[in-house]
């Protein structure tokens, strides 16, 4: 056990605990950075959202809330399994750890699959500026095709950036699951599970805010 710990401790830390605290702090600091990556785009979104409220509301109503809602639940569930993974790692339950990590990754993949279905639906509904967009259908008072396009651009940029983050998360969680199977982690060394858990929850947090900002800004009368 001691030798195994020595092999995962870097030379410049006093102890594994010291190392784990440092990596956790590193991840939190990185997440603060990520807040501003998304924050910059949120700021652009906010400016136009304030200026072009009717168009934004009209465009938001056309998004697929059914898939958006289900995806929210999927992502929340994956956060639960991720939290359970960290707990399993801390208490040394290897099989539970592998199972929970696997479930987390699977749920991430499910999210991306549903998102792809949604994007395809958007494409068919002519909601993709530049590729498939129908300016004629936006005729309500105060609603402008160009402003609707702005909303949609922010929708794709935000969900796209989120999907990129999620994809990275899925790959890393899958690697962690594989490492867990190889019995790399122990109650003394589980920092990677912990910090990538933080990352995963953060990606979940972003989606929690994307849901109301993208799907829920106007009164709806239907799901799709």
């Amino acid at each position: 056990m001691a030798t195994r710990n020595a092999s995962v401790r870097w030379h410049h830390f006093d102890s594994l605990q010291h190392q784990q605290e440092s990596t956790t702090l590193g991840m939190w600091v990185f997440l603060a950075t990520e807040v501003l990556v998304f924050g910059a785009i949120f700021t652009g979104y906010t400016v136009y959202r304030v200026a072009y409220t009717p168009s934004f509301e009209a465009a938001s109503r056309q998004l697929n809330l059914l898939i958006g809602g289900i995806n929210t639940i999927v992502l929340l569930t994956s956060s639960l399994t991720m939290a359970l993974s960290v707990q399993a790692a801390k208490s040394g339950q290897r099989r539970k750890l592998v199972r929970c990590l696997g479930l987390t990754a699977l749920m991430g993949i499910a999210f991306l699959g549903l998102k792809a279905v949604e994007y395809y639906g958007d494409y068919r509904d002519k909601l993709v500026p530049g590729l498939s967009f129908d300016p004629v259908q936006w005729t309500a008072p105060d609603v402008h095709p160009s402003q609707v396009q702005l909303f949609l651009i922010f929708y794709y940029c935000l969900t796209g950036l989120h999907a990129v983050h999620l994809t990275i998360g899925i790959v890393i969680i899958a690697i962690l699951a594989w490492m867990a199977r190889r019995n790399v982690f122990s109650p003394h060394y589980y920092a990677p599970v912990e910090i990538w858990g933080l990352y995963w929850h953060f990606v979940d947090l972003i989606w929690i805010f994307l849901l109301p900002l993208l799907y829920l800004i106007g009164t709806r009368d239907r799901w799709l």
Binding site: G39, A40, T43, S79, L205, L213
Partner: protein
């Protein structure tokens, strides 16, 4: 930081499940509210609920509740700077037409 805290951090699974159920209920709630006519309040209400959900995730799933002060500081820094970015940008947009030429 100390060893004692680490053992405290092993929260019981039941807490996680409770948080999860609260999150699901809030999600259903916020989606349901979008079918009610709240006029201009949709975004505000949606953001308040999202903030509650985010707080739950951060405090319990991300163990912020038992984290060191420096962790809180990192999170606070990110949010504070986001607030700077948004508010100072909006000072321009919201005051653009005050001064007439």
């Amino acid at each position: 930081m100390s060893k004692i805290k680490t053992t405290e951090q092993i929260a019981s699974a039941s807490l996680y499940y409770a948080v999860y159920i609260a999150l699901v209920i809030l999600t259903i709630g916020t989606v349901g509210l979008s079918f009610c006519n709240l006029q201009n309040w949709h975004t505000i209400v949606g953001l308040i609920i999202a903030t509650c959900k985010a707080t739950l995730v951060a405090l319990f799933f991300m163990h912020l509740l038992h984290s060191a002060r420096i962790t809180w500081l990192a999170l606070f820094a990110g949010l504070f700077w986001l607030a700077i970015l948004m508010s100072l940008t909006l000072t321009d947009y919201l005051s653009r037409s005050w001064l007439q030429y």
